[in-house]
Amino acid sequence: MDDMLAIYMILGFMCALLIGMPVGIGISVAGFTFGWMGFGDFLFNLVPSRIYGVVTKYEFIAIPLFVYMGVMLEKSRVAEDMLEVIGRLSGRMNGSMAVALIVVGVLMGASTGIVGATVVTLTMLTMPILLKRNYDGGLAAGAICASGTLGQIIPPSLVLILLADIMGESVGTLFAAAMMPGLMLAGLYIGFILVLGRLRPDLMPPIPEAERAEIRGWALARKAVYSLAPPLLLVAGVLGTIIGGIAAPTEAAGVGAVLSIVIALIYGRLTFAMIWSAAQSALRISAMIFFILIAAQVFSVAFRGLNGEDIVQDTLALLPGGETGALIFLMLLLFVLGFFLEWIEISYIALPLLLPFFVASGTDMVWLAALIALNLQTSFLTPPFGWALFFLKGAAPPLVTTAMIYRGVLPFIAIQVVALVMLFNFPAIATWLPEAIGW
């Protein structure tokens, strides 16, 4: 009975969430309750130092900074103008704004490496204007969650750097390995949007003909340069310095936040009230992310204390089917764990337990790493517990309902599954590039 407590704890957390407890409170309550039942309270003395670790972590400083940048670009209507112009430039084509959103989302996720910050910033930037332009809320939500989480596995991602460390591969090799699957997914998303645009044009209407007629030719070109250049330079500059390895994400985020204020100034829209209200919004949205990161510490301490890891290992030993069976189990396990734990914890807690088995059976580590990364990404956007969905809900206008978000991500999850199956059956998708360039 006792050794099943870790499982009951997960079920308890699910129940707390389903009845609608705030996520941060529900995850702590489950952790404390089942932790006490299992091991009393001595291990919980570890929680404060973990909380301290979360709120002082240098990489996490990027969260409020990126959020501030996003809020500022939204409040000064810079983001709105940008998507609007893309919509106008695309003429009668359906879904162009959603495609633009996916490209930005992937770039942004790749450079920030933080699921929460990417999804929240994207939501602030794009959701209001997409809704105003009569895009379907669910479709917008799905595209935001999918591209925001995809960025996590496109190089240079923190996930891959950590995985390289844990699996004993070089960072360069894993970057190369994730490149093809990542780009393949981005292509699939865009293809899906374009096909859906043909089948269901009502979900993503183009800007009406009459309105597009107002501004054409050179006037439109000038407007395009005027509205696109500053924000694109900002995004390209911020992301470029991170991807180029020049600046750490936190540094680039700080510069991006300041530049977002400068851009509002250039457009003549900056007010002191705007600077202040952006700070207040950024505070609330960052706190939403931090609350979950902090509260999850209780849960992960309890999960370790209840020997959740041993349960996992024992199950693995009993499994039929050799390598393939174990791989499938690993995929399912990571998928489920991804609901409850941050990928950092999964990588450092769950993976080391399972890896020896795969090393012994001669599994290709590069391929395995790509599978793991893809899998974690999928679990972040799967209802009802995917982190990306919570973050999106918190940042979106109230009329975007939970049901709408769930419906919207479903097709993207289907795309994920297709990609996973492809990668599973054709390891070359991941292993080809590292071999070709000799990394």
Binding site: M21, P22, P64, F290
Partner: protein
């Protein structure tokens, strides 16, 4: 009327909740100001590193010394503004009474959790405080123990805000219940 206000326990409790809200709003303004300060500081450090060639150790440490109060005070503000995230598939279909009852329960849980965080952080904070722990690096900031002490302090505020919310839900429950 005045007499009545002072003797009715629910009104007293609501006055308490109002007072807590005011404190949290002050904390919200403080944390927002710190956030702006942190943006300026990170920018300053980048400027120092890439243009001047170096930025002082204390300025780098100050970045996360600011992050801690921002994040910790932020979660209390989150409670005040009901900005926390939840799965509302079931919740939004519940009758109003049940929603208030559930929120009342959640907020009481929140208060209990906060008290537990304070309890468990006693040793952690104490050991830092007793040696007046500072930065181990030369040129670093001297008062790391204050940052650590932010944890119990902030969760104290968090507990109060959860109680204030609980009081409002209890009041609403009585109102809706007739």
């Amino acid at each position: 009327m005045h007499e009545y206000r002072n003797t009715n326990p629910m009104n007293k409790a609501l006055a308490f909740a109002d007072a807590v809200d005011r404190v949290t709003r002050a904390a919200s303004a403080l944390a927002s100001a710190l956030l702006l300060l942190m943006i300026a500081l990170v920018f300053f450090n980048v400027f120092g590193r890439y243009v001047v060639g170096a930025s002082p150790v204390w300025a780098q440490e100050l970045e996360w010394h600011l992050m801690a109060p921002i994040a910790l005070l932020g979660i209390t503000v989150l409670m005040l503004e009901k900005g926390h995230v939840r799965v509302d598939m079931v919740f939004e279909r519940l009758p109003e009474r049940a929603q208030h009852a559930l929120d009342l329960f959640s907020m009481l849980c929140g208060a209990v959790i906060a008290v537990l965080f304070i309890k468990y952080s006693a040793g952690f904070v104490d050991s830092a405080w007793s040696i007046r722990e500072g930065s181990p690096d030369p040129g670093g900031l001297p008062a790391r123990y204050v940052v650590k002490a932010m944890i119990p302090f902030a969760f104290g505020l968090f507990a109060l805000q959860c109680l204030a919310n609980a009081i409002r839900h209890a009041a609403a429950l009585r109102r809706v219940g007739g």
